[in-house]
Point group: C2
């Protein structure tokens, strides 16, 4: 039955993604060898690369999965909430995985095709952030003196800073207080003097 | 004469730092082999490691040099100005060098000694940022409802996001407008409603 077959294919694909995520988190992008990917996914290289063209495609599929999950939270609660959850979680694996995004920075900068694929995969997050802000604006909850695309880029820049900070294992300090400032900045109400 | 000798030592040390910076920018942290460091500095490995214990020490000395240079600008003009200059410059070498900071993220996270040394070297920047904000506060130019350490961490988080963004070669978009929002956020004057 095609339905069952399709479910099984999806489950197998997810098994590969989950194992690869652990592998990247543990060994880094370069350190995630095919042998290690076989170990963490529990599947042969033949099976893995039947679903994903190469390691790069596997990595980008994980980035896309992240972007979609985050986009769902952003749609309901905003990007600051995504940041609060990242900050509150003490999940070392999550932070290690985020670190791989930094490790590929050279590649992102020097390989236009890779960068283009990466940006296509993270487009869902940008779109969700803008949509959320547009809705907030319409509801009168957003400051109106700064264009929405600028506020969206502002939030994404803080997000990039938070990823970088946590992935490097730097002390959290009062980052919760910092996120309060960020949230207040995009809201309609001005800060007290 | 000891004075001349001391000048020559300092010049040689700087020659090594300049060459190493180009090397890291071009080949990345891992790719900056001893052979390549010899080529870009124009000195033998014996000479290089007479001044610096190892590659890690060389890298950290560059990070410290950056932190001191930035701290000087921060003292006079603030961290947002440092960000504006980074954004305005189209110096690919500078951005490539900044990218090496991301490449060592795994090491920073997993090697407490390395992280400690890195943080000690970047302490000058944090101190300068806080000092500047304290003076702004005393002059009535800073918002008073958020503690200075939180505002300092806010600015540093945005800085980390900007470094990450540019080092990955992502489009600048309206980051100048974003920095306006950031600057306005820490100032005393509240945004218009």
């Amino acid at each position: 039955m095609p339905r069952v077959s399709s479910d099984r294919l999806a489950a197998r694909r997810q098994q590969i993604l989950d194992g690869a995520r652990s592998c990247f988190a543990r060994y880094g992008y370069e350190g995630a060898t095919v042998r290690r990917l076989e170990q963490t996914t529990g599947l042969s290289r033949g099976a893995i690369f039947h679903y994903f063209r190469d390691k790069e495609s596997l990595f980008l599929a994980l980035a896309e999965q992240d972007a979609r999950r985050m986009a769902d939270i952003v749609a309901d609660q905003g990007l600051v909430q995504v940041m609060r959850e990242l900050l509150a979680g003490d999940d070392g694996d999550d932070r290690s995985w985020l670190g791989t995004r930094l490790e590929v920075s050279r590649r992102l900068r020097t390989d236009p095709e890779f960068r283009q694929r990466w940006q296509a995969h993270s487009a869902a997050l940008t779109a969700a952030t803008r949509d959320r802000l547009e809705r907030q604006l319409a509801a009168g909850a957003l400051r109106a003196d700064i264009p929405v695309p600028v506020l969206a880029q502002y939030l994404e820049l803080v997000w990039e800073g938070l990823v970088s900070h946590l992935a490097m294992g730097l002390p959290a300090g009062d980052l919760a207080g910092v996120l309060d400032v960020v949230e207040q900045t995009v809201r309609r109400t001005s800060p007290p003097r």
